[in-house]
Symmetry: C2
Subunit: 241 residues, 2 copies
DNA sequence: GTCTATAGCTTGATAGAC
DNA sequence: GTCTATCAAGCTATAGAC
C-alpha cells in the first residue's frame, strides 16, 4: 500500500478552459501547461511533495508524464512553478489592501481590526471565490508554511515583505510596542491563518459539526477579532512590564 | 508522571542504551524496538510520511530494513506506532494539569491565563526538556494536526478529549460564551500552538534573528496572553452581538 | 508539442538461513 | 531476533518518433 486515499476525482484539470482554439502557439500551449499546474496544485496541496508522483499529476491532467518533464523539468521544478504561479498575485493584493487602508482608514484613523481586515480578507476571499485552484493553493501555502523544507526560501522571498509591511503599519497604531513582541504576536496569528486555510476538517469533528472548516467567512471574522485582542494584550505596554 | 524536570537521556540513535544485558527476552528486545521508533519519529517529523523510506529509518536506527517490518509490519504501522507511543502521556498530563488547576485555582478563582498555563505548558516543557525524542514528537504532532490525512482518527481519539475538557473549563470561566465561538476561538489557539511546536524557523528569518523559534519558554508565555485576550474578544458577550 | 518506449534506479515487503 | 538476499512494483527522467 502506497496510497492512503484515492486522488480526488475533482476536476482541477480543465474547467472553463474552452473557447480558445486558435491561440498563442508561439511558445507552447498555455492551456496544457496550466492544466498540469492545476493538477499538481491539487495533488500537492493534499499529499505534499513526496506524496505525489509525476504519473498521478499527468493522469489527472490528462497528459503524458513526458510532457510534465517537458514543461517543468524535474519534479521539484514543477512544485516551484506551482508555488510561484499565484504567489505574486496573492501578496501584491495584500500589500495593496493594507496600503489602501493606511491611506484612507476612515474616521478615527487606523485600527488593528481594520488593518487585519485588509490583510486577511484577500486570501480568504480567493480561497472562497477564486475557484478550486485558489482553494488548493491556499491549502498548499498553509502546508508549506508549516513545513519549511519546501519553499522556505520562496516563502521568505514572496511572503515576508507583505508581512513586514503589515508589521510596519501595526507599529504606527502601537508606537510603544516592542519589535520582539510584535513578531511573536504575528507568529500566533500566522499559525491560526495557516491552520484555517488548510481546511483540515478537524474543527468540524472536534466541535461535533457545530463549526465547519469551510466557513471561511466566519473564520476570517473570528480571526480578526481574536488577533487584534491578542496583539493588544501582548504588545501594549502594561503595568507588569 | 507529573515531573518534567528529569530529562530523559534518550537519543535518536542508540547510545546510553547499555546496562541491560540480561533482560526480557520473552517478547523482543525493547531497546531495538524503541530505537527504531526513535529514528522513525525523528525522520517523520522532518520529512513526513512519504518523505521517509524504511531504509532510511533502518539505517538511522542501525538495524536492517527487515527488522522494521518484523516489528511494525507495513510502513503505516510504523507511523501509527510512533504516533501512539507518546500520545497518551502527552494528553493525560494536560488533562491532569487543567483538572488540578480547576480544583485549586488559587485566590480569585480560575482565569483564562491560569487555565492556558496549565494546558499549554506541558507540551512546551516536554519539547524543551524531554530529550530529542519529545522535540521530534512535538513537531510530528504539529505537522499531523495541520495535515489530517495521517492520524486524523488518531488525533481525534487521543487529543480531542483533552481539548473538550479544556473547553468545558473555559465555559465555567465564561458561562455566557456561545459554544460556536469557543470552538472557533480554540481553533485560533490550536493553529498558533501547531506552528510554534513545529519550530520551523520561519519566525527567525522573518524577524531578522530577533526571535528564535526554539525559545519555547517565551513562545508559551506569549501564547497564553495572546490566546486569553483572543478568547475574551471573541467569546465575551458584547454590545455588538 | 505530444506521445511511445524504456532505461536505470529505488521502493516496500518477504522468504529463509542463522 | 536479526541478518542476507531478493523480488515485483513503482518511480523519475530521457531519447526519439511523429
Amino acid at each position: 500500500m502506497t496510497k492512503l486515499d484515492a486522488p480526488a476525482p475533482e476536476s482541477a484539470s480543465a474547467p472553463a478552459r474552452r473557447g480558445r482554439p486558435s491561440k498563442a502557439r508561439a511558445q507552447g500551449n498555455g492551456d496544457t501547461r496550466e492544466g498540469i499546474l492545476d493538477a499538481a496544485e491539487d495533488l500537492f496541496s493534499k499529499h505534499g511533495f513526496y506524496g505525489v508522483t509525476i504519473r498521478e499529476v499527468a493522469r489527472e491532467a490528462g497528459v503524458d508524464t513526458a510532457l510534465v518533464h517537458y514543461y517543468f523539468g524535474a519534479k521539484r521544478g514543477l512544485f516551484d512553478a506551482v508555488f510561484l504561479r499565484r504567489a505574486e498575485v496573492w501578496n501584491n493584493e495584500r500589500v495593496d489592501a493594507v496600503n489602501r487602508y493606511a491611506r484612507d482608514p476612515g474616521p478615527g484613523g487606523m485600527t488593528l481590526e481594520g488593518l487585519f481586515e485588509a490583510f486577511l480578507r484577500p486570501p480568504f476571499q480567493w480561497s472562497l471565490k477564486g475557484g478550486p485552484g485558489w482553494k488548493h493553493y491556499a491549502a498548499l501555502v498553509a502546508q508549506t508554511n508549516a513545513n519549511p523544507t519546501f519553499g522556505g526560501e520562496t516563502m521568505a522571498r514572496y511572503f515576508d515583505p507583505a508581512i513586514r509591511r503589515l508589521i510596519e503599519l501595526i507599529k504606527q497604531i502601537m508606537p510603544e510596542a516592542r519589535e520582539v513582541d510584535l513578531y511573536w504576536a504575528y507568529h500566533n496569528l500566522s499559525g491560526a491563518l495557516t491552520l484555517t486555510l488548510g481546511e483540515t476538517g478537524r474543527l468540524d469533528r472536534l466541535s461535533g459539526g457545530l463549526c465547519r472548516s469551510g466557513d471561511l467567512e466566519a473564520a476570517c471574522d473570528y480571526m480578526i477579532r481574536f488577533a487584534a485582542a491578542g496583539f493588544r494584550a501582548v504588545c501594549a505596554p502594561g503595568p507588569d512590564r
